[in-house]
Symmetry: D2
Subunit: 279 residues, 4 copies
């Protein structure tokens, strides 16, 4: 169980969203309201694309301590401005607390983060690892289900067609679950980006998925969150996707429907159904 936030829009300092909101991600690290656990203290991370003309690889920061006391995260969030960033606070479901298990994970220009779990992951791990392209395999650094899902999706074409690759990855994971007799196998909300496009997926085998919300109307957000100064300057197409709202719900936050995904590019957003592709 984790919490995450993804931003796409006019460049802003990370701290505007990570620290300033009443119920910010940092606040959620100690006081999550909608999660299985109220505490998300098993590490944190942020990945951001630079605010430059030319295309560039994202940078990442990973820390093993709780987000609420990490001074480097605070410093960095104050000084780094980005038009597209992903932030994550972790509550381990069993795997080690170490930087290589912190989200977002990176491969080339791609970032990936996850909230949820593959049930009985230790039993399925080997089967899933075998499906990873041998060329990609050496890049797996940590021991989480989340990172392995990323590499399975990369193997299945994430860089060509992200939604289809995620749908196929779900199919592969669920097939492994069926083989091992694990019911209600997968729980996931996942954010993926290549620096230009942002996708946010919500899915679970039992069709009762972890919460996921997106903002559509920047004007309502501004009214609800006067404490986030940066919102007064951002373009109308700016979007935020979150595991749980940064304050009260009313008007500004919409739930991503069960078994669907959102897609944002250049201030334009879409919602689509998400149907697993059986392996």
């Amino acid at each position: 169980m984790c919490r995450w936030l993804a931003y796409s829009g006019s460049p802003i300092a990370l701290a505007e969203l990570l620290y300033k909101p009443r119920h910010s991600l940092i606040d959620q690290s100690r006081h999550a309201r909608m999660g299985v656990e109220t505490t998300n203290g098993d590490g944190c991370g942020v990945g951001w694309y630079p605010d430059t003309e030319e295309a560039a690889e994202p940078a990442i920061f990973h820390a093993t301590g709780p987000a609420w006391s990490d001074r480097n995260l605070l410093e960095l969030s104050r000084c780094v401005r980005s038009p597209l960033f992903l932030a994550h606070i972790r509550a381990s479901t069993g795997t080690a607390v170490q930087q290589s298990n912190c989200h977002p994970f990176r491969y080339g220009r791609w970032l990936w983060m996850h909230n949820g779990a593959i049930h009985d992951f230790p039993e399925l791990k080997r089967d899933l690892a075998l499906t990873v392209d041998p060329v990609l395999y050496p890049f797996i650094e940590g021991s989480t289900d989340s990172e392995l899902m990323f590499y399975v999706a990369l193997t299945l074409g994430l860089q060509e067609d992200a939604p289809r690759a995620v749908a196929r990855m779900i199919g592969v994971v669920e097939a492994a679950g069926k083989k091992h007799g694990v019911p209600d196998l997968l729980q996931m909300t996942v954010a993926v980006s290549d620096g230009r496009r942002l996708w946010a997926f919500r899915y679970s085998t039992e069709r009762h998925s972890r919460s996921l919300f997106f903002s559509t109307d920047v004007r309502t957000l501004r009214t609800l969150h006067p404490e986030i100064e940066a919102l007064s300057h951002v373009s109308d197409g700016t979007r935020v996707v979150v595991s749980e709202p940064l304050g009260d719900l009313e008007g500004a936050w919409h739930e991503v429907p069960e078994s669907s995904y959102g897609y944002v590019e250049d201030g334009h957003g879409e919602l689509h159904p998400l149907t697993p592709v059986p392996a």
Copy 2:
């Protein structure tokens, strides 16, 4: 706000008390019930006296991560047996999360740990630091109010008469508070030991102190906590002092009264009133 546990009795493995009880100290690191905060994730520590005939210095283990995910603490708690140990989980009231701010603190054969705070500590810190014996001053390693209270108490004779030194320390701290116009200055439950004797103090300027409980009757403890196997072997004089009970209250846990302290030595225990000695 922190949580702590002190044990005096027949030698047992630390894990018996730190991990096995239903609402163990490790469980309290994520789900404290009686504290200001439910999370105590800003470091942890344990100090123990060896299970040997001859007198010896205590050993300490300090870690900056949350207790719930610290594997070294788990390993060590399983293999170390001790007749007298102090364990602490920290919720910082502002000072840095670092090993030198983890409890218990040690000076020679003495261990000290604290739950609570000196209000407006930054304002009073210099005045309090000046009261520390110049010979002791260089031994202060961290930046907490808790450690400074220890060194003030050492300066005022902790090693000769612990209860009187603590009462005098309170007087010195409250005098500094009065000088600086800080109301409701001090909140504290403190455990102190020299390896033979164990004291547990409960006090606050506003006379509304943080919770503190002690066990008296090992037989009731055994019945309430069948999951703590070691209790079946310990002597009847074994005592546990805790910020909050390790399970349900009924019968086994007694509250240390407001403004008083408990004292344990060789299976014998006493309760006394605690009256500050004005500076």
Copy 3:
């Protein structure tokens, strides 16, 4: 490149060997003389079997910082006594600095530590991972070649016949190297124990292996190392195996021959040739 030390004999405090010798393992963390690198600052670890009658699982301590500044390691080494322990300081050959990559690794009653490397490990990793018994696979926690060698050896019967399993593991690794066209594939000195027996292996594909020494004569050790007080009390069958001597060579330290292994049990020691079993 790492340095390690293994001890088998009369129970002593770990600090006697880890800290007291002139050129102790802790000193080697900053000033190794015989290694490829003088600095071994990428984590450290110790695993020890308890000093008790009954058989018991070993305990482990892993830390990501350099050994020379780790206060917990110092505290623990002072208070823990053991008749058989393994200690390791790490110089990463590329994999992450994290506790799950620290040696010794543990599986049940077995401990394993390694100095050396599998060349081009990222290329071979998947092939080697596939050889691990699916039942053992989920226990792999880190990302090192060292841990994977352990699990390959476990798969090949380490618990039944340790020398043969290690010889077969070398065969499997070298076969994978041949397949991928990697010359001079393997460099290793490895220590393994089940708490009763201790094996120390020295091997490399190019037959030019990392240094490895063992002590035979406790009396000479006593004379050379008066600073290690504990040596005055230990039995004559006590043995120490080290990557490099704890002081000067003369008389006390013998080199484990190229492509061979030592074996110690109950104060009795043997040396045997080590011949890889082709896969």
Copy 4:
């Protein structure tokens, strides 16, 4: 003993100087040539002023592990561009390895870093702490001599007249040394900045100070360091000050003379003698 680097000039990515040079600061963390120790593995830090028109507080990053394996430092150095930054790798002279002891230290717009030591610091610490302005005292977070020197200098007017305040600080420290009978008291190279100006001081009581070098001629630097691409774009007034050169000496690096300081502002540099002001 530490190593540090200070940069003032055209904005560049931190990595250009911290990672790219043959004998970069990161390389010096393992292989320092001119220091008392070859290893500087007790933490690292960087402080930088933002590359913006308006004046702004510097940001800082502090880590307790060795610089050579710190991935966050690498990520951050690649993406952060700054016209004025200070970087430091630490070799502790006894105080704890913790973030609050990492350089550079910050107070408001001011950054401070230090290589060297106050001999017998524990004995002098209290006397020096007492000279700190009570208003500044609560801002001291760590336990090093370096940070305390910063606060003594701030007390003595660093923000009004930096060279004079440092000269007076030396006087105060040496007076304390004389009182306690400590010979050869102070060793220091210090870098200070307010974001616009940069000072670099070299001094020791015994007049045999730690090494300190500065670059004057960017064209020579470019020729000597073709691997630092950014140098091809920086202005001619760009200056680098280092504990030891980033490669070979010839031509590009000049030693700061004994008992003197350099001063850089807007591409203009000066050298002045440094004479302690007796307390």
